[in-house]
Amino acid sequence: MTDLTTRYLGLTLRSPLVASAGPVTGDIAMWRRLEDAGAGAIVLPSLFEEEIEHEAFAVDFAAQHGTDQFGEALTFLPELPVAEVGPARHLALVEKARELLTIPVIASLNGTSPGGWVRYAKHLADAGAHAIELNLYDVVVDPTITSVEVEHRYVELVEEVKAEISIPLAVKLSPWFTALGNLAMRMEVAGADGLVLFNRLYQPDIDLDTLTVVPRLALSTPAESRLPLHWIANLRGSVKGSLAASSGVYDGADAMKLLLAGADVVMATSALLRHGPEHLVVMERFLREWMVARDYVSVNELRGSVSRENVPDPQVYERSNYYQVIHSWRQRTVR
């Protein structure tokens, strides 16, 4: 029997296929289907620092908007027993997930700056999350802020979050760092038990009719899995903690490649949105069939077997790889 179990953040998962944070994992009705389809764990939608602040300001606005201005109408909305802004719904989601699921539940926290809000990590842990995924999601447009400052802030944030919790912590990064390897190491030192590679930045669009900038989040494409594959293969030998691959994981082949590159788990979001939770069954079948065909008995056996440190020519994962790809593409094009 093929053994798909894997260790991620110190947790034992029955499968390396994990449902990543997104609309599917935010829908309670999908949870059971994900579990039944074989998900190793689920990552619940992110609790956003920005969202918490935005919501706080929105609630504050609603609470004071137009109040105490006119003798007949001192307020305009009833005072409702509104739960504490921000985390309450997420905490409830975590509690519900723990109640309904047997697979590990990973709560996600999204922010970029140290501060009081990191206490929500503790709340999420208290609500029953098996682990926290901290999504460092930042668009630094201020030209006076240096990359050193940004990375320092991230390290501080990871330290603060780690100090709040006793459960494992994964850090989800963007790929846009000058020296990602170094940052990965510093994240580990700061307390990260694992890295999730990568998040996908929001890229606004322009509406040609109204000439307004509109938010538009496109789903990932399979080609995007090359980026995590590249970095996981590179980092597998240098980081001690877990590695999770995210972005562009569409089928079992994508997943298998990432495992071979060194991922402990492979996370799918867009594929599940497009094809539904049951797509995990298809992916898992591929993994099993591939392993059986090649006589692999466990994921542990194959994990990282094609990582940078385990390939005969590690340089293929380095800069020369770029030339090789271009070269091969040209050859194909010419033909």
Binding site: A56, D60, A63, D68, A73, P78, L80
Partner: protein, 1201 residues
């Protein structure tokens, strides 16, 4: 037991909620908060004494609430309601029934003026006095604590006596005053009501197991006897109430009597008074007795049944003059009601009871109407008058009556206010000053042994309003039922108020004055006006300054300076040690803002920390150095009445106006808002002609008519010698003209709706539009000059352009301008447009509500006149009667026109010498001609007729002169909000819809009772949270338009300016043109919806796109194959959830009850889909207007007459 810091509305509601099974409610100021509390408590599952959650139901009117109450108590439930003023009047018929049937019930009333010559939301006893013949027991409370306690007594007494109780306390002064109060807890309340009596009440209830008949019809043989049969029950009430009071005293230590006397045991003069006035009177009595006088005050708590024996027993036998004070006016009566009752008691008293065996004389007077101040100084004046041999009787006190000379003169320097801290705060409604002071009162009252009192005065505007907070702190109970007039602390929270109000007039000598100044501390003295400097020096105040705006912005609070100023108050006032005070403040911030999130708490705490660093004491200058003076309230060019009267009101000096200054019948000249220059905007729109495409959208959406378009001959600018931005006006009809778009900088509220609506932008930078918000400081002076020049500029005749487009409609002058409506108001653009299209010949009947308040609340009036002096004639009758009221106006006009036509016909021979037959025929033919040019031509004809009539020696000629105006078309508009149209006025509206008469009805649908603070109406959509629907409304909004369409001959349009401005213009023109009833339902975005009002129009668009507000027109036609229904909006293209998520009224439910919110939004989406499908079917329906033939007949009969 710890005290609460609450107002009477909350305290009374708490008791009533504990003691009720059914609570039927309807909003009316100042009683609405009682219903709101009850609704919220029930929505959150709070239980009554018997472990059940009271059923709280909002009815369509107070009449409905009383009906439901009547049904509930007759069934044997414990039930209550809350109301005031006109609301109580609507309950009167049911009250006679409930009392006549000896059915226990309680009505809690925040007593308020009745509308007479004017509406007033403020407190007096004219409403409760109108209920004195109902048979209800009437119990009065004079303070917040008393209101809480009397509420319990009321419920206990009604069960004990079977006589229903009206419990009242003074509107605003008591209903809205925060005070240190012990609200009776459940144990006390439980001990006060008898299970046996409750059981008896229940067993008397209607029950088919024990069938009885109630409400029989009786005849002369037995009615009289039966009516007398209840007498013993009423006779037993005084003793039962006193017994309840005594029992209450045993439980709480607070002893009350039916008539409570306070003062010298051997007093020679005693005031008898009900309500909060007793507080001021007691203070004065103590002060006067301390200086050797012998006076007293008797606070009467039970008014019906009148406790004659208890009143007589409470009065000292030594009294020689009893002065009865009534807080109402009953024109034509020998005296006011309480006065008459006391007179009667005295008359029947045993002379032997009194010193010298002579009954005391009784005099009386009126005081405190509409919350007019009633102070110890006035009490002193009353006692002085009572000592006169021939006192005025009746008198008035608190005003200067130079017409009937009834008023007493009081000494303003007689003061008895000894509270340790007497603080007055001037703020703007938007800056959070009131909220901060409520919070301050709760911090002090909740964390110290000191007592607090806080009372708030608001002006009549809904945008840029001024608030004045009066906060007292003392070691003893605070019973001072009047405003602070000698403050130990004055906080001026907005620098602009230094310019408009005499802010130091209330400062005591040596007072601490805290000013929020947008200047460096060392420059503030130089920025003060000469008046302020002089007062500061004369009173030797300690002056502290802070740039609170800077601190608030730095702390991330934007323009909310409340926390900054609150921190400074605690630092300076000395109520608590500074460290302790600031720690308490931070704790209060965490408590108050905790639920809004950490970031809000952190910002406010940061503001506290930074405040003291930026607080500076400003040494007073040596002398007055400023050459600047407070601006006059109105410009010198304002008319005489505005100068003499309006300006005083604007300056906060309305109390000083004598009776003769005011019209006796409530009739005021219009067009006065133009003289009130408020300058409240931080940013104003500035026009960029190079980008402008002349579309008129900025002007049509402006809620305050502060953006105008004017088209003129190109050489007009030079001719007028003015310098204005100008561009060519694109027009096929009349080419070669110039256009200016101009802002009225002092009248703009800075809402930004115009910029949102502007479709034109710079091709090289999309953020630059053809109109952009800019800081007022950079543009005010230039735009003021430009505005004056714009007004002076001679316009081309707008009638050259068909008004049926947005652009051309906006060339017409608005005759509704600069109202006090909320910044960004969604209602006022419709009214403005109405006046642009029909204003010079319109009569407007306006239901009570927002539109009657910003339309008719003094000091100034936004309805304006054109160059010929014509403009809307506007009247507000009531809330409930507006459709009928408007119909009456129409009927009167038509009757007068028939009379005029009849006389014209009779006078043909006499007129022949001056007017040809054809001229007269043309007048007759043109009486209902529509359109600007046609009306103008008819006016010329009628002017000729008037000129001719002068020469005619015939009595009919004189009469026709009076009525000649009716020979020109008049447009009757019946205007009101959804509270009126969907709820309280629905019956009347329906009748008018079915009348076939030529009236136009404009419903400004905000989907909520906006004016009273956001209570649900039948227009409130499913899924929205509103007061009285705190759990989210679960019923679909009523389709008023569909109801109206059932008549078949009613023109109906549903419009939303922000979604289709051109459809709105067309609809109004079509409504006016339709010769029968027209109904236009206008989507009106409102501050109660909970979004940034600068997005008012884009939000309307979203409402239409989501299908929340479909646009259509139903145009009745006599054609045999008519398809009257036209759907003007496309198929919904935006999910309802997206619309709902953008407004707090929906989004709040998603936060408090996500599952229910989701369910309701799903249902609302289904509503949208179903409705759209139904409307699409209507498009195909053929229908010939049934009223068409009738209308034709009416028209013919008019012609014949």
């Amino acid at each position: 037991m710890n005290p609460d810091i609450v107002d009477a509305n909350e305290a009374v509601a708490a008791v009533a909620h504990l003691l009720s099974e059914v609570i039927a409610i309807y909003p009316i100021t100042p009683a609405s908060p009682m219903g709101e509390h009850a609704d919220q408590w029930s929505a959150s599952g709070r239980e009554n004494l018997w472990g059940a959650v009271p059923e709280v139901i909002e009815m369509q009117s107070e009449a409905g609430a009383a009906g439901a109450l009547h049904g509930a108590v007759l069934r044997g439930a414990l039930a209550t309601t809350f109301t005031a003023s006109q609301g109580l009047l609507l309950m009167l018929p049911e009250m006679f029934k409930m009392a006549g049937e000896l059915t226990p019930a309680v009505i809690h009333v925040a007593a308020r003026s009745l509308a007479t010559h004017a509406l007033s939301i403020f407190g007096d006893h004219s409403d409760v006095m109108a209920a004195r013949s109902t048979g209800f027991t009437m119990l009065c409370a004079g303070s917040v604590q008393e209101a809480a306690d009397m509420a319990v007594v009321a419920h206990a007494a009604t069960l004990e006596t079977r006589v229903p109780v009206l419990h009242f306390f003074d509107g605003f002064r008591t209903s809205h005053e925060l005070n240190t109060v012990y609200v009776p807890d459940a144990d006390v309340v439980r001990s006060m009501v008898s299970d046996g009596r409750i059981s008896e009440h229940r067993l008397r209830g209607l029950d088919p197991d024990r069938p009885m008949l109630r409400g029989s019809a009786q005849n002369p043989d037995v009615f009289f006897q039966a009516r007398e049969a209840c007498s013993p029950f009423h006779a037993a009430v005084p003793a039962a109430v006193q017994k309840a009071m005594d029992h209450f005293a045993e439980l709480t230590g607070r002893q009350y009597h039916l008539a409570d006397y306070h003062g010298a045991p051997d007093a020679d003069r005693v005031i008898v008074v009900m309500g909060s006035g007793a507080g001021a009177a007691r203070e004065a009595v103590d002060a006067l007795n301390a200086r050797g006088e012998r006076v007293g005050v008797l606070a009467l708590r039970l008014f019906r049944p009148f406790p004659t024996a208890q009143l007589l027993a409470a009065l000292p036998p030594t009294v020689r003059t009893v002065v009865v004070l009534d807080r109402c006016k009953e024109p034509g009566a020998p005296f006011e009601p309480l006065h008459l009752d006391v007179l009667s008691a005295m008359w029947h008293s045993d002379a032997g009871h009194w010193a010298d065996e002579e009954r005391p004389r009784v005099i009386g007077g009126r005081y405190g109407l509409s919350s007019k101040e009633f102070t110890p100084a006035m009490v002193q004046a009353i006692f002085d008058e009572a000592a006169e041999a021939n006192p005025k009787n009746p008198f008035t006190v608190g005003i200067h009556d130079d017409v009937s000379h009834s008023s007493l003169v009081w000494d303003p320097d007689f003061r008895t206010d000894r509270a340790k801290v007497r603080a007055v705060f001037y703020g703007l409604g938007s800056d959070g000053t009131v909220g901060a002071n409520k919070n301050t009162a709760k911090i002090i009252g909740g964390n110290t042994d000191m007592k607090v009192q806080a009372y708030f005065v608001y002006d009549s505007k809904k945008s840029g309003s001024t608030t004045i907070s009066h906060v007292r702190v003392d070691d003893h109970d605070i019973d001072s039922s009047y405003l602070i007039d000698e403050a130990t602390f004055v906080g001026v929270h907005q620098w602009s108020l230094m310019e408009t109000l005499d802010v130091l007039s209330l400062a005591a000598r040596g007072a601490t004055v805290l000013v929020n100044a947008p200047y460096p501390a060392d420059q503030v003295w130089d920025h003060l006006s000469a008046e302020v400097q002089a007062q500061a020096l004369a009173k030797q105040v300690r002056l502290f300054v802070i740039d609170a705006g800077y601190v608030a912005r730095t702390a991330g609070l934007g323009g909310r300076i409340n926390t900054v100023m609150q921190a400074c108050f605690f630092a300076l006032a000395g109520v608590l040690p500074q460290d302790e005070a600031l720690a308490e403040l931070k704790a209060a911030i965490a408590h108050s803002y905790g639920a809004r999130g950490d970031v809000i708490v952190q910002h406010n705490v940061a503001a506290v920390d930074q405040s003291l660093m930026h607080l500076h004491e400003l040494p007073l200058g040596a002398a007055v150095t400023s050459a600047r003076h407070r601006s006059p309230a109105v410009p010198a060019a304002a008319p005489d009445f505005v100068q003499r009267v309006t300006a005083r009101m604007l300056a906060g000096e309305g109390d000083l106006l004598p009776v003769s200054a005011l019209p006796p019948d409530g009739a005021f000249a219009t067009a006065t808002s133009q003289w009130e220059k408020r300058t409240i905007a931080a940013e104003i729109p500035i026009w960029e002609p190079d980008l402008c495409i002349d579309c008129g959208k900025c002007a049509i959406v402006c809620p305050h008519a502060a953006i105008r378009m004017k088209v003129y001959e190109p050489d007009a600018l030079a001719a007028a010698g003015v310098d204005l931005k100008s561009k060519d006006f694109r027009s096929r009809e009349v080419p070669g003209m110039s256009l200016t778009v101009q802002v009225a900088p002092d009248d703009c509220t800075g809402c930004g709706v115009c910029v949102q609506a502007c479709p034109s932008h710079d091709k090289t930078s999309v953020k630059r539009k053809s109109i952009n918000m800019r800081p007022i400081g950079d543009h005010l002076e230039r735009e003021r000059v430009a505005w004056d020049a714009f007004l002076a500029l001679t316009s081309a005749d707008p009638a050259q352009w068909d008004p049926a487009s947005v652009k051309t409609s906006q060339l017409r002058r608005p005759l509704f301008e600069f109202s006090g409506a909320c910044s960004g108001c969604g209602e006022t653009p419709y009214l403005k447009l109405l006046t642009q299209l029909f204003g010079d010949h319109s009569l407007i009947a306006n239901a009570t509500g927002c539109s009657s308040i910003y339309g008719g609340n003094l000091p100034t009036t936004p309805y304006a006149v054109d160059d010929d002096g014509r403009g809307p004639a506007w009247a507000n009758s009531l809330f409930e009667d507006n459709a009928e009221f408007g119909l009456g106006i129409r009927l009167a006009f038509e009757a007068q026109r028939r009379t005029a036509l009849s006389m014209l016909d009779r006078l043909r021979p006499e007129l022949a010498e001056y007017l040809g037959e054809a001229d007269i025929d043309a007048i007759v033919a043109g009486v209902d001609d529509n359109g600007e040019l046609a009306i103008r031509q008819q006016r010329v004809r009628v002017d000729a007729l008037r000129a001719a009539l002068v020469a005619v020696e015939h009595s009919d000629a004189r009469r026709l002169e009076d009525l000649s105006g009716t020979l020109v078309r008049k447009s009757v508009w019946i205007v009101g909000g959804d509270g009126w149209a969907y709820d309280i006025g629905a019956g009347g509206l329906d009748h008018v819809l079915g009348s076939g008469r030529n009236v136009n009805i404009l419903v400004l649908d905000t989907e909520v009772y906006s004016n009273t603070g956001g209570q649900a109406s039948k227009a409130t959509p499913r899924g929205a949270v509103a007061k009285f629907a705190a759990g989210g409304k679960n019923i679909m909004k009523k389709d008023l338009g569909l109801e109206a369409m059932t008549y078949g001959d009613v023109y109906v349009a549903k419009v939303a300016l922000g979604a289709s401005d051109v459809q709105t213009v067309k609809a109004l023109l079509e409504a006016e043109a339709w010769p029968g009833v027209s109904l236009v339902i206008a989507y009106s975005t409102c501050i109660a919806h909970g979004f940034d009002m600068s997005k008012s129009m884009t939000q309307q668009k979203l409402a239409v796109q989501s299908g929340h507000w479909p646009l259509y027109r139903y145009r009745p036609s006599g054609d045999a194959d008519a398809q009257p229904f036209q759907l003007d909006s496309a198929e919904p293209s935006v999910p309802y959830a997206e619309f709902a998520d953008s407004e707090a009224r929906f989004a709040m439910l998603a936060r408090s009850n996500p599952e229910r919110a989701k369910e309701l939004v799903a249902l609302a989406q289904a509503d949208v889909t179903t409705r759209h499908g139904y409307y699409q079917q209507l498009v195909e329906v053929h229908r010939t207007a049934p009223g068409h033939a009738d209308n034709a007949a009416i028209a013919e009969s008019e012609d014949e007459s």
